[in-house]
């Protein structure tokens, strides 16, 4: 197959194999990237990761913050030419929350009135608070104010699927050849473990502005292999490369390099339900022993942003009350002694982490810092899914965890509510934190809401249920012939905003 015969083909190393291209069943970030080019939700990202109107031209919010009314675009079209209607959206939201769809991320839209009941099978689909007063108006009712709805709708869970196709083909609608999308691209081919190929959608509402004809997403699950293929000129974009190469790339090919902090938080979580970490002094001691800057600047060296706050520093409009503090090993030792651990009775802990080269480096450094204050630290690594399965079951003492996502503080702080369920891995429960968080969630005014969140964070982190470490960075290599690429904290780069310069501009590779 002549892979390089496409005149204007953008070849993206997408980091792995998508498990599905059904937007309602999706689960992975790398699927999100493909789906974002194939579909368009009510809201969308622009080239810089800002939230802009998508299939909806505009929207209004009622005074109580509970009713959102979206006006759909008149020129919205599916790839087969059919118009995108409000009825498609009603069908899609119901499909997402229909228990028979078994969408694992259905909870993303639990803010909608009746969503949770419908998803649990406790209420009929019609109970869902999404209605279509006319073909181009969509009304969404929420169960409590949720000012971040526009942001929440950019995930594939909020994407429309073509009612007329899904009703006819059932689950097979998603196969290449069947799938009909409303985004800038349509699915052309999918070779499992090799690539997904998308081509321009001629019916897209802004089709004339789309400049790249073909986008191929390669399933590059080994980042060394992806890097080699990039160096050999077989890929135009890779989202990650070996850390050790960063210095060389900076030196030899700075034009290729795009580094941006990602909206994310890497942290350590203590199992507060069990000894030894039921004791806040022990948690505080281990937190005090850590030197974040040493981890980010000496070990990882990829531009990670050290953070003492549980909310990533780049979240807009949030100024954490938690101060950056320096490591203090003597104080840590003193606390340990107070808690009954000393040379004769040393504290022994197992630190669980996710397999992977960068994770390993950071955890080895953390273990070394703890060993230095007399804590015997064993490491235990597992694949991503197994790791989080263990965490959810409370089968850990202290573990690495991460939370990626949104540009609002609530998204992160929710993890510390006793009602958060199993994503509150450490079973942390503090009535004061819960009360503050719940009050925030009932508040429609954003400034007031954020102030309450800020207080909740300060109260929670005073007892160290988690140790925030850093926000990760995305290190992308983008060939200079690809234009329109803007590094952003969302790490989102819709293909419709990119274009390819002529071959003459081809720069040298690192």
């Amino acid at each position: 197959m002549p892979a390089f015969a496409f005149a204007a083909e953008l070849r993206i190393g997408n980091g792995g194999e998508p498990l599905t291209l059904d937007p309602h069943r999706y689960n992975l970030n790398l699927e999100e990237k493909i789906l974002g080019d194939l579909f368009e939700g009510l809201t969308a990202h622009d080239a810089r990761g800002r939230i802009v109107p998508g299939a909806a031209e505009s929207w209004t919010t009622s005074a109580d913050g509970l009713t959102w009314t979206f006006a759909l675009r008149e020129d919205g079209r599916w790839a087969d030419g059919a118009p995108v209607t409000a009825e498609d959206f009603v069908f899609s939201f119901r499909r997402l929350l229909d228990p028979r769809t078994a969408a694992s991320l259905a909870y993303f839209l639990y803010a909608i009135d009746g969503a949770e009941e419908v998803n649990n099978g406790a209420a009929p689909l019609e109970r869902l608070g999404v209605t279509a007063p006319d073909a181009l108006t969509l009304r969404v009712r929420l169960r409590e104010p949720f000012p971040f709805l526009a942001e929440r709708l950019i995930y594939p869970t909020g994407f429309p699927v073509p009612k007329h196709v899904v009703a006819k083909l059932g689950d097979d609608w998603v196969k290449p050849g069947n799938m009909v999308t409303n985004g800038a691209y349509t699915l052309a081919d999918w070779q499992p473990q090799a690539f997904v190929r998308a081509i321009r959608n001629p019916h897209f509402r802004a089709a004339e502005s789309v400049r790249v004809d073909t986008v191929t997403y390669f399933s590059t699950d080994d980042r060394n292999a992806a890097y080699n293929r990039y160096l050999a000129g077989e890929l135009d974009v890779i989202g990650d490369f070996p850390l050790g190469e960063l210095a060389r790339v900076r030196r030899e090919a700075p034009a290729h390099l795009h580094v941006a902090p990602l909206l994310s938080m890497m942290y350590l979580v203590f199992n507060t339900a069990e000894a030894p970490f039921a004791d806040a002094r022990v948690r505080r001691a281990l937190a005090l022993a850590l030197d974040r800057r040493r981890i980010t600047e000496q070990v990882l060296r990829g531009g990670e942003v050290a953070s003492a706050s549980f909310v990533p520093p780049m979240v807009a409009g949030y100024d954490s009350a938690v101060a950056q503090s320096a490591a203090d090993p003597p104080a840590a030792r003193a606390l340990l002694r107070e808690a009954g651990y000393h040379a004769g009775n040393p504290l022994a802990v197992t630190l669980r982490h996710i397999a992977g080269a960068d994770n390993k480096k950071a955890q080895v450094a953390i273990a070394a810092m703890w060993n230095a204050i007399g804590v015997r630290t064993e490491l235990h690594h597992a694949e991503l899914n197994a790791h989080f399965a263990a965490l959810r079951q409370g089968d850990f003492q202290v573990a690495q965890a991460g939370w990626f996502g949104e540009n609002n503080p609530e998204h992160y702080l929710e993890l510390l509510m006793s009602t958060a369920g199993d994503v509150n891995y450490g079973r942390f429960a503090d009535p004061e934190v819960d009360a503050l968080m719940q009050e925030a969630k009932r508040t429609a005014d954003v400034a007031e809401r954020v102030a309450l969140l800020r207080r909740a964070e300060a109260v929670a982190l005073a007892t160290h249920p988690v140790v925030p470490l850093y926000s990760v960075t995305v290190r992308s290599l983008v060939h200079p012939r690809v234009a329109g690429w803007h590094a952003n904290a969302r790490n989102t780069h819709p293909a419709r905003y990119l274009w390819l310069r002529s071959e003459k501009a081809k720069g040298t590779r690192p």
Binding site: N224, G244, V299, A357, K360, Q363, V364, A367, A382, E383
Partner: protein
Amino acid sequence: MRDALFGTALARLCCGVLLFAGASALLGPLVSPWAFDAVDWDAIDAPPSWTHWFGTDGSGRDLLARTLFGTGVSLFIAFSATAVSCLIGIPFGLVAGYLGGRADLVMMRVVDGLYALPFVLLVILLVALFGRNIHLLFLTLGAVYWLDIARIVRGQTLVVRGEAFVDAARALGATPLRIGLRHIAPNVLGPAAVYITIAVPGVIIAESFISFLGLGVQEPRTSLGMLIADGAREMRSSPWQLAFPACWLAAILCAFTILGDRLRDAVDVVGGRRRSHDERRTAPFNRAPLPLPPVRGAR
């Protein structure tokens, strides 16, 4: 046999390499100024120097100390797995070869059947499913490799069983157990020794393969395979992280292979081989001019 083993400079060199590898793995950690898991904050990703002869890894740990430690782990896994396979395979082969007839046929059919199991996958499956555990690793590898030694021992037993001295012993009223232990087992030791020189490097390579897939031993412990797998990922930016462990591994594997060849020549001379049709079917296993297991093992 002794001459073949130690007669040439090359063979002596190989013995030297293996002895040195074993001794340094045992004694190295005692004399090394760096512990295998100690982090030197001032030398992260550092090339070889006077303080760190082999350089350091991405976490600032001394590579010489880690290479020695990893050699110990790899050799431990390899010898334990080989021991496990001998414990299963030798009695199995002896019994099958000695009994002969239907029993032999059934037992060998079981071996043939097990050969059809995708063992690489089985090991990966077990490690992926039940967690990384060094004991699980060598037990599984041992359980995989016993098939070869069972075939070798059975072939050799078939040959020895027909010898005059066994008939004589039987005529003198010796019990089967006594014949097995006193007359047959000693004659099987030679091929078994050859097998060990084949199996040990095979297991070392299989372990490196498992490490490459990210299923090796737990950090901060390491093995040669894991050092190489990690080093291979950094070979462009930090070549020393691959070069030292890889050379070390290659030297050990070469030494085993060459010694295995010598040993086989020696055993062949002692054995005074006679080949039956049966034996010819399993030819590469009992006359093996090559290490079969490493190849079948894990590529």
